[in-house]
Symmetry: C2
Subunit: 544 residues, 2 copies
Amino acid sequence: MGRAMGLAGLLLGLVVVPAVLVSTSLRHGAPRAGAEPEPSDWEVAADAVPEDSLWPLPQWVRTYSRQLHLAPGRFQLVHGAGSSAGPGCGLLQDAFRRYYEYMFGHSRRRTRSRRPLAARAEPELFQLQVVIEAGDPGCDRHPQLTSSEAYHLTVTEPVAILKAYEVWGALRGLETFSQLVHEDDYGSFLVNESEINDFPRFAHRGVLLDTSRHYLPLKSILTNLDAMAFNKFNVLHWHIVDDQSFPYQSIYFPELSDKGAYSSNLIYTPTDVHLVIEYARLRGIRVIPEFDTPGHTQSWGKGQKDLLTPCYNGEQPTGSFGPVNPVWNTTYDFMTKFFKEISSVFPDEFIHLGGDEVDFSCWKSNPEVKKFMKKQGFGTDYAKLESYYVQNIVDIVSSYNKGQMVWQEVFDHKAQLKPDTVVQVWMASNYAHELSSVTGAGFTTILSAPWYLDYISYGQDWKKYYSVEPLNFPGTEKQKKLVIGGEACLWGEFVDATNLTPRLWPRASAVGERLWSSSNVTNLQDAYKRLTNHRCRMLRLWQL
Amino acid sequence: MGRAMGLAGLLLGLVVVPAVLVSTSLRHGAPRAGAEPEPSDWEVAADAVPEDSLWPLPQWVRTYSRQLHLAPGRFQLVHGAGSSAGPGCGLLQDAFRRYYEYMFGHSRRRTRSRRPLAARAEPELFQLQVVIEAGDPGCDRHPQLTSSEAYHLTVTEPVAILKAYEVWGALRGLETFSQLVHEDDYGSFLVNESEINDFPRFAHRGVLLDTSRHYLPLKSILTNLDAMAFNKFNVLHWHIVDDQSFPYQSIYFPELSDKGAYSSNLIYTPTDVHLVIEYARLRGIRVIPEFDTPGHTQSWGKGQKDLLTPCYNGEQPTGSFGPVNPVWNTTYDFMTKFFKEISSVFPDEFIHLGGDEVDFSCWKSNPEVKKFMKKQGFGTDYAKLESYYVQNIVDIVSSYNKGQMVWQEVFDHKAQLKPDTVVQVWMASNYAHELSSVTGAGFTTILSAPWYLDYISYGQDWKKYYSVEPLNFPGTEKQKKLVIGGEACLWGEFVDATNLTPRLWPRASAVGERLWSSSNVTNLQDAYKRLTNHRCRMLRLWQL
């Protein structure tokens, strides 16, 4: 009836993986430390190898077989001596509370068998001391592209030390520390002595959520931000509006959502938006909003008259509308005011301007547009008109001191972009070539093309996402450096609150490790083992 | 970046579909009634056409534009005059309570705007009277293959009447009635006057759940039973054990789950099993357990020594095991006792014996098996050995007065089957031919091959499931009558509690309508509209 037997599921989330194996101390291609440890350090751990549940794999990990015991009633997360952060650092205080709960919270509701006395002799770990080294720890700031996420973690009796330059690195280190702590069969919490030196391979590691095709309740977005933090993602690319609906409640233009949202309660109020941004900030995640124009804007037209281009059939308007009208001054008046609001509501340095998939047929039908083309000397090259529009928007947004992200067509159509513009490569066909072109022209870029996670297929497709190497394109070292990261995209045509989480996680985890870990972390078997444990942990945390 | 615009989602569950259209009174190919109603009966309804949310579409529907008002505080579901069922009928009492809650329960938590006075003038519907016509209404029985699910529903002022021969038909009619009731923008409950005559096209309409590849918590199974009732499915095919795990806790052989389950808490106790059966019964759903042998039995071997065939490499046992050992008497002693328990625990007339995908390589390697083949004169035809085994099991199970279901290989390999055996066709390649063969040999059959819902792909694959015509195979009228239904199968390799519901529903709804409604209900646009509303309703009910 079913299946060839033995086709094991990707996600045996509920299966306890048996303890095995010798502890490998230095992991994959991480820079080797000077002195190798003595053989006695290499004993087989009583439980599974501690790094068997680390995800994404840190750059440099050494673990020892010696286990330390953590007593939930005594163990503390504290600010270490010499840290520039202290109890006034709300971001870290919140993280301490959160990670304490992640590590120990679930155990309160469990009964357990009594631990044999002999096994209680482990030495104890009393504290994790967090030391922020920068003069300004960044507690009240927002994370940005140039933030440091590096950290150094040593776990030895009696205290573990987590050092980071900024709070953002401390957040990543707390996640790693919590992944090292495990509960044995008797309900005891254990951590192996270890040393970890870690930093991200790429600075921009994003997840795109689409709240236009289907509305996503706030809770779904927040749950996803938690999952992103578990996987060390640091950018929520919020594709907030599109043709289908306009759920963003604008302060200046409330009619946009009044008329463009699916319904009056399926919107994001200013309070909602602020909550998402703050929830993300506390997890070291940037929120980059995308207000995609001039295409993908049908829903804008419902609340803002005279914004979209009227389409014509010969001399007659058809009653349908095309992309934003690029020839009227009122368009730019509106956009100036609109992006002023967006620049102020969203604190990130970058705004995503979209610019993809502009359908020229309506522009081509419109007499005013045709006249304008002639006047500008664009001939019949509507890509020039698109670039004209985009350059106006770029100038508007630049005047608010915001950097820009755009989809690849904006680059392909030769718009004059600011030097720090980030070009997002999404077209699946020959994306390596596109990466070459974009970086060859000196622009920074992020890769999404192989990571469209809304496309589904039977079986373990995470391997496909995992096996992508973003720098595998023809180009110089200088070009490779311009690839600042990538994004897993979950478009919303077939996604809503009912299936978002199981569709995105842990498939996006594969992208998360590719963007964080060293380029030579590519072993699928090893990844499978760690990903299985990681998923199991995520399930447990979601049920907290 | 994303998608061609306008690719609307399958499941705009959260989108309110605007009211439209003229009320079509007589639906798709249903037998026409004698007198056509007067034109005045055909006015456009103030709201959406009532049958726009019926799923699966009844065999015969006539709706009128006249709307009746239901006041939650006054409206009652009651036993009608002349019914053989009364307040002592727990099954109906429970159904009354459940459907009252479905219809009105969600409204309590909603605030609403005030209804204009003028609109309050509708006539009122005070009761739904349920009349069971059979001498024995069946309240305390279990549904079976031959149960009547037909019903006749008339909704007119001041009372609606639901007539059914047995309680099973009343359950289906209650579901339909609840689908007719809708809430307007002011929070008023309305139903259009209507008349519905309905019965299933096929008697066996199943969903297969697999609790071996991944354990499914009881709650997931019960939620799925609710969804099945919403879609008029009437068989839960419980593929309860397989190679990967043995979660069924046996009374006679507790070691099977002690050692064969994923863990000691990932099991179904006798109480759990009883709860599933009773929850299903109250919804008119049969529970057919599958204990698949002789293949797919690796997990059985953990708790029951000397049951599986030891595999050999030349003269030496390899330590691995193959299918159930068909040559030892102890095997049949065990199976006799085991199936005695199963026959008693599961009240359904049928047990599914599996019999699929038997790998002969281990049998071929085993010296004792080879000797037995010789002795029996089977030559090297291991299909004969398989049939020998299966016939023994069939005889055992028959002695407990149970009918049998088997996967198609059992038929293909020419086992001597009891005349009432149901052969389940699952192989995708040329299933029409297999249906011809099975029915040509005089066996009843159910179809699953085109309805393996664990296989996923991008987009609206429900259309593929919907477009299957089970009787589209070469055969006589008599052969067609032997097709008693079908099953949507959700194998568990990539399914657990996190994704079961969104993966199965509403995709399985497509199968549900194909198996219930008239063969000419095939219009995809009409189905899309109704399915969208139906999903919306299911989401609401799940959130109750």
